[in-house]
């Protein structure tokens, strides 16, 4: 079975902390250059740029976009929801809108939240405060992601902020989530005892970071369904490797 590289956690200009260069075309191009075939587009509590990224990827060829969103729970734990198509993601997005406060973004302080098309033309701005937490606790957020047909991944569990580990002390063993994600700084092997598939992604906010961390998967073809089979360990599809671990000084 062929091996594909997946970077399933990449932000766009819609995230206030995302670089202004992080447009759909730039993200797709960077992924292509790095040999990333499965590209998860996940902005903070929002997903308006997913359609543009899907279209940019279709035009560029060789990259498949996985529609996704990075939900902030009430405990400020980040959870990735991966979805089979933009429509199912849209249903989850509706729930996030309901559960996110009414606060408005202050672009001068937090950054612009830009909605664009696949040619990188600006269509408008999301005016909600997307860096806020929703009022869903972790278990509720996971329940909704699953209910709307998605796959729930505890994001960057090794990181000192906005992770299960930092906010809630540790990652409970399966099946609280469907999989867990580590950053380029952690050894995925340290997490296997928890009983989850472990992915590694870049959490890129700049084009230069796209594909800086990835998961290698054996799949028949690079599709959402095949990806999920691999993460569930079904049909011989599986995770076979990762980008290198970056050692940091303690």
């Amino acid at each position: 079975m062929p091996v594909f590289r997946a970077d399933l956690h990449v932000h766009t200009v819609l995230s206030p902390c995302g670089d202004m260069e992080q447009s759909p075309r730039a993200v797709v191009k960077a992924a292509k250059n790095k040999g990333i075939t499965l590209l998860g587009i996940a902005d903070h509590n929002a997903s308006e740029n997913v359609p543009a990224c899907v279209e940019a990827a279709r035009r560029a060829g060789s990259v498949t976009v996985i529609p996704a969103v990075e939900v902030a729970s009430v405990e400020e734990v980040h959870i990735l929801g991966l979805f089979p198509n933009p429509a199912d993601l849209g249903a989850m997005q509706g729930k996030i809108h309901q559960r996110l406060g009414d606060d408005k973004n202050v672009p001068e302080k937090f950054g612009y939240q830009v909605i664009v098309d696949h040619r990188d033309n600006v269509l408008g701005f999301n005016d909600r405060f997307l860096l806020a937490a929703t009022d869903m606790d972790v278990d509720t957020a996971v329940r909704y992601i699953r209910e709307y047909g998605g796959f729930a991944v505890a994001a960057h569990v090794d990181r000192p902020a906005f992770s299960m580990t930092s906010q809630l002390g540790f990652v409970p063993p399966a099946p609280t989530f469907d999989a867990i994600e580590v950053s380029r700084f952690a050894d995925p092997g340290e997490y296997v005892d928890l009983g989850y598939a472990v992915i590694r992604s870049s959490d890129a906010h700049l084009p230069g970071e796209v594909g800086a961390a990835y998961t290698e998967l054996e799949l028949e073809e690079p599709t959402y369904d095949e990806l999920i089979m691999a993460l569930r360990g079904e049909g011989g599809r599986k995770v076979v490797g990762y980008s290198p671990t970056i050692k940091v000084m303690a």
């Binding site: 972790v138 278990d139 906010q167 809630l168 002390g169 540790f170 409970p172």
Partner: protein
């Protein structure tokens, strides 16, 4: 001072009763469980607005005397059930963490 004295004097509710005769050795306020894990010791009372089941694990790990859930937050059933299983004292207060901490401090409990 024992946990049961604290309940009475600081006007706390008992959400889950473990052993209310445990001695209180100090108190700590934090909502980051990684921070609580690193900075609390046996006999400590932990004041927080977190309600996830993981709070019970932290309390048992560090042998805390009690968890006080402030601001009237209601823990999920799963959290209460886990606390019952583990015999962890879970107390509640309608007051925010600052007020709860103030009451405890006045009662002579120091960090």
């Amino acid at each position: 001072m024992k946990v049961k004295d604290l309940v009475k004097k600081a006007d706390l509710s008992v959400l889950v009763e473990g052993d209310l005769d445990v001695d209180v050795e100090g108190a700590y306020v934090s909502d980051l469980l990684s921070d609580v894990m690193a900075n609390t010791e046996a006999g400590g009372v932990w004041i927080t607005i977190q309600t996830h089941t993981n709070i019970v694990a932290i309390a048992t790990l560090n042998e805390l005397a009690a968890i006080v859930i402030s601001s009237g937050k209601e823990p999920a059933d799963e959290t209460l059930e886990r606390a019952r299983e583990e015999g962890v004292n879970v107390l509640g207060s309608a007051d925010p963490s600052f007020e709860v901490a103030g009451k405890l401090y006045k009662l002579g409990i120091k960090g």
